[in-house]
């Protein structure tokens, strides 16, 4: 098959994102430095809880180079609104849902370290930093609580919630689950703690705001995962029409959810631009990012698994405590409820499921989704519980899992949480993983490790994702006379390679080289509708919509071509960007039609627009086999092998999909072995830099053996499933179980994450001491 021929040779080759980025040609928020821009800096609460007794800003305001100081009073006078959650619940257990909005600047009381108290706007960063020092802030410190398990008994963070409970919610059949537990041959209980972690993309958050007095329009350049929702949030905070705000997102240096949320600093930059008439820029440093970014996870699961005498899973129940932080963030209520339950039971047939959650306030920054959004916790809890069950009951862990897998005959399988799993062949995947990971050779590898004084452990786990996110996708496909196809999507790339993947989808339909397709995202003036990126929705939602839209465009162009060539459309063949009258070499090209259209204002031939239609959910699934080596002398763990198989449906962009999986499992490895936001008893953050907050370096991860085991999703025109969160959902338990397998000879059953050398060494030492005392 030769290369497709393309008419309209004037078309230029698009520089792809990778080429631009390896040249240093990225355009990140801090790279935008318009002449005359002022810099904004934020004074942050030094205490986790307390009353502001003094906030004196006159000295700062009169410093040379300081253009404005903003306090809560200024914002109140301006009529700036607080940030409210977008996901209130109307189905809580007791009808109560308490979610006080998050003020842009603390409203007399500070509720977490790092909460914004005041802002200064100055000619440059150094002047702004000096001005912060000149603000006189006194806080009467109150007791703080950062441990969710201590929150109920602690002093109230809100008078309206004396027990610190924001809401209680449950799903599933509690009676049936309890009945199954009562009748079961075995019930295994375990508490699994999922610590607060930082998304920590390498590019910190930032914002550049401008205000045009003559038009009354605000523009905010800021990294995001979708400009449309952010436009609404900013307009609401500023109390202006949505049309008065334009949000522009250029290159985003990683996000993993943390840049979805509207933040106080963005509102402050907009207000400051309005007040000063100058562009105002704010970029977080890393310490600010750790103190004021929205963290993820933060759940404690008291879990129970019931099994019959043959090791079949009968019921799985979780009593969860979700640490919601000091405020209820944008979609946090959805994450700890629906997000947590959609994958409950994941790849296993379990008749009875029940999940109950208490969302509790603490004196930490508000939490919300982080890559996986409630699902990594639920999957990791069950996978951990299965290993504990196997150990307690003396069963083989892999066999126990295999015995309970959902089989292809059971599809479509409706789970106890109301999800209908769309496809997959889990037993085949398990068999392939057994071989790919060379499980047969594990005993030999373990012996080799032991000979070196190391304990080798194996973790073998399965996972399932229920993709979600917004379905407010509107895709546009436009053929430009100069030889380019422009695709617009309301999703937003933050490094995943959206533009390459969506270009591939459009190029396939239009039978053009991918280089001819340019994908545009990130300008709210060009997007009336667009739900943004989240829930691994690029493939299930956007790719399917772009595919439909490109087909629609081709249909319209065909009708126009028939008109131009004066034949019936059925007589036209299409290939390589050209309609040809069958059996002749007469024809007309797509780009020629666009040129005619441009001249005659005949849009339908060259523009199509479609909204998402169809099934929103897909269910990617997979399995990971992870081997670690533990040094019992130091507690240090090395991940030696990682073999994974994932069914993400049809793979449109294999390098991109591989990259999503490899990056996701590395974040999971980080969560398993070292990542946790740690606060002292007063709520002071102890992990406020990359020196203290451990994240995996190149030497901490193995070369990955990851492959695809695709089965098409019937829920998707293209057969695609989501991918972005799959690795971070599945990876945590695989590593955690591998480490616990290595710990088994020491009689250690369970250690809470993160499994740092200090904790593992202490666990081993404690068992040694017990043995000595006992002996």
């Amino acid at each position: 098959m030769g290369a497709p021929t393309v008419d309209g040779e004037a078309g230029t080759r698009m520089v792809d994102d990778d080429e631009r980025l390896v040249r240093g040609g990225g355009r990140f928020i801090d790279d935008r430095a318009p002449a005359g821009a002022l810099r904004l800096a934020v004074l942050r609460a030094p205490f986790a809880h307390g009353r502001i007794t003094r906030l004196e800003t006159a000295a700062a305001a009169t410093m040379p180079g300081v253009r404005a100081v903003l306090t809560a009073r200024d914002l109140a006078e301006r009529g700036v609104a607080a940030l409210a959650t977008r996901a209130p619940l109307d189905d809580t257990d007791d009808g109560r849902f308490f979610a006080p909005p998050r003020p842009i600047l603390a409203d007399g009381v500070v509720r977490h370290v790092g909460e914004a108290v005041a802002a200064v706007v100055a000619d440059d960063v150094a002047t702004a930093a000096d001005a912060l020092e000149a603000i006189d802030l006194d806080i009467e410190a109150w007791p703080a609580v950062v441990d969710p398990e201590a929150a109920r008994a602690a002093g109230a963070i809100r008078a309206e919630a004396p027990d610190n409970v924001a809401f209680r919610w449950s799903k599933g059949d509690a009676d049936a689950a309890a009945g199954a537990m009562a009748r079961a041959a075995h019930v295994v209980e375990l508490t699994v703690r999922h610590p607060r972690v930082a998304a920590a993309p390498l590019e910190p958050r930032g914002a550049l705001a401008s205000y045009a007095r003559e038009t009354g329009r605000y523009t905010l350049w800021t990294p995001s995962q979708g400009v449309v929702a952010l436009r609404a949030a900013m307009a609401q905070a500023l109390a202006v029409d949505t049309d008065a705000v334009r949000i522009v997102t250029e290159d985003v240096g990683g996000s993993f959810a943390v840049k979805i949320w509207p933040y106080p600093e963005q509102v402050l930059a907009l207000v400051a631009a309005e007040r000063t008439g100058r562009p105002v820029k704010w970029v977080a440093d890393r310490a600010e990012s750790f103190a004021a970014d929205v963290p993820g996870r933060a759940r404690v699961d008291r879990a129970r698994l019931a099994l019959d005498a043959d090791g079949r899973f009968l019921a799985f129940a979780v009593d969860a405590l979700a640490d919601i932080g000091a405020y209820v963030n944008t979609v946090a209520p959805a994450i700890v409820t629906t997000g947590a339950t959609r994958v409950m039971g994941h790849v296993y047939r379990i008749a009875h499921l029940h999940y109950a959650v208490t969302a509790t306030f603490t004196n930490g920054p508000p939490t919300d989704a982080y890559r996986g959004a409630g699902k990594p916790e639920t999957v990791a809890t069950l996978e951990r519980l299965i290993d504990v069950a196997a150990a307690r009951l003396g069963l083989d862990r892999f066999e126990l899992r295999r015995r309970n897998l959902i089989t292809p005959e059971a599809l479509p399988y409706r789970t106890g949480m109301g999800e209908t799993i769309d496809g997959g062949d889990l037993p085949a995947l398990a068999a392939r993983l057994d071989e790919a990971a060379d499980l047969a050779g594990f005993a030999e590898r373990r012996a080799a490790s032991a000979a070196r004084g190391r304990r080798r452990g194996l973790g073998l786990t399965f996972h399932l994702h229920a993709t979600g996110g917004s379905t407010d996708e509107r895709s546009e496909v436009r053929v430009r006379p100069e030889g380019a196809v422009v695709v617009r999507s309301g999703t937003q790339d933050s490094g995943q390679g959206h533009r390459r993947a969506l270009a591939a989808v459009a190029a396939e339909v239009l039978d053009l080289p991918r280089e001819r397709v340019r994908v545009e995202q990130g300008d709210s003036d060009r997007l009336a509708v667009g739900g943004g990126t989240g829930g691994s929705n690029l493939m299930p939602v956007a790719a399917n919509t772009v595919h439909r839209t490109a087909h629609a465009l081709l249909g319209q162009a065909r009708a126009r071509a028939a008109e131009v060539l004066e034949v019936a459309s059925a007589d036209l063949a299409y290939a390589g960007g050209r309609f040809r009258i069958k059996g002749t070499d007469r024809g007309v090209g797509l780009f020629e039609l666009a040129a005619m259209g441009a001249a005659r204002d005949d849009a339908p031939a060259c523009i199509a627009e479609r909204d998402f239609e169809g099934e929103h959910s897909t269910y990617p699934a997979g399995g990971y086999a992870v081997e670690v080596e533990l040094d019992p002398e130091t507690g240090a763990v090395r991940v030696e092998r990682w073999c994974g198989l994932d069914d993400i449906g049809r793979v449109i962009d294999p390098p991109g999909a591989f990259g999503q999986l490899a990056g996701g499992v590395t974040q999971a490895l980080g969560e398993a072995l070292g990542e946790a936001l740690v606060y002292d008893a007063n709520g002071q953050l102890l992990t406020g830099s990359f020196m203290d907050y451990w994240m995996p370096r190149a030497g901490d991860v193995p070369a990955f053996v990851l492959d695809f085991a695709p089965t098409p999703s019937p829920n998707s025109r293209l057969g695609v499933k989501g991918v972005g969160e799959v690795g971070s959902i599945g990876g945590v338990a695989a590593v955690v179980n591998a480490v616990h397998d290595a710990l088994r000879p020491f009689g250690v059953e369970h250690v809470d994450r993160p499994l740092t050398p200090a904790k593992l060494w202490a666990a081993i030492a404690a068992r040694d001491r017990e043995a000595e005392v006992g002996g």
Binding site: D17, V22, L202
Partner: protein
Amino acid sequence: MAEVSFKVNGAPVTVEVEPRTLLVEALRRNLGLTGTHVGCDTSQCGCCVVHVDGASVKACAMLAVQAEGAEVTTIEGLARGDELHPMQQAFRDHHGLQCGFCTPGMIMSAVDLLQHNPSPSEPEIRDWLEGNICRCTGYHNIVKAIRACAEATSGHRAAAE
């Protein structure tokens, strides 16, 4: 204010900076070379790695005035016009990047690795990258790209000898 003169990507420059200005700030703000990034405050992340007199340096850990008389190379100075540097090409060919924020520092660091060790093993590559954090890729394709570049360039050297 202090006046500092040095060469950036082969061209002589003079910038006027406050003595406390970091080299990375001078490159980004005074010279508009925004390919060198800042990802942390503690010299951990490596997003700001440049070459000073041929050796990789974290430009956040050096004052601009210390660059007086030096030859500085940034990510923008690596390609020869349309032709990417072999390390840039390898990162591109092997998809050794996602969001691209750590990439310039990663590439500058990798180029320096091959100056020290033209055929590094995989553990040597991983060890060298200790000072460069990537949050997106899981490092797999970065390591692959560096190995491929080492193989390609040592192949060139072998052919030339």
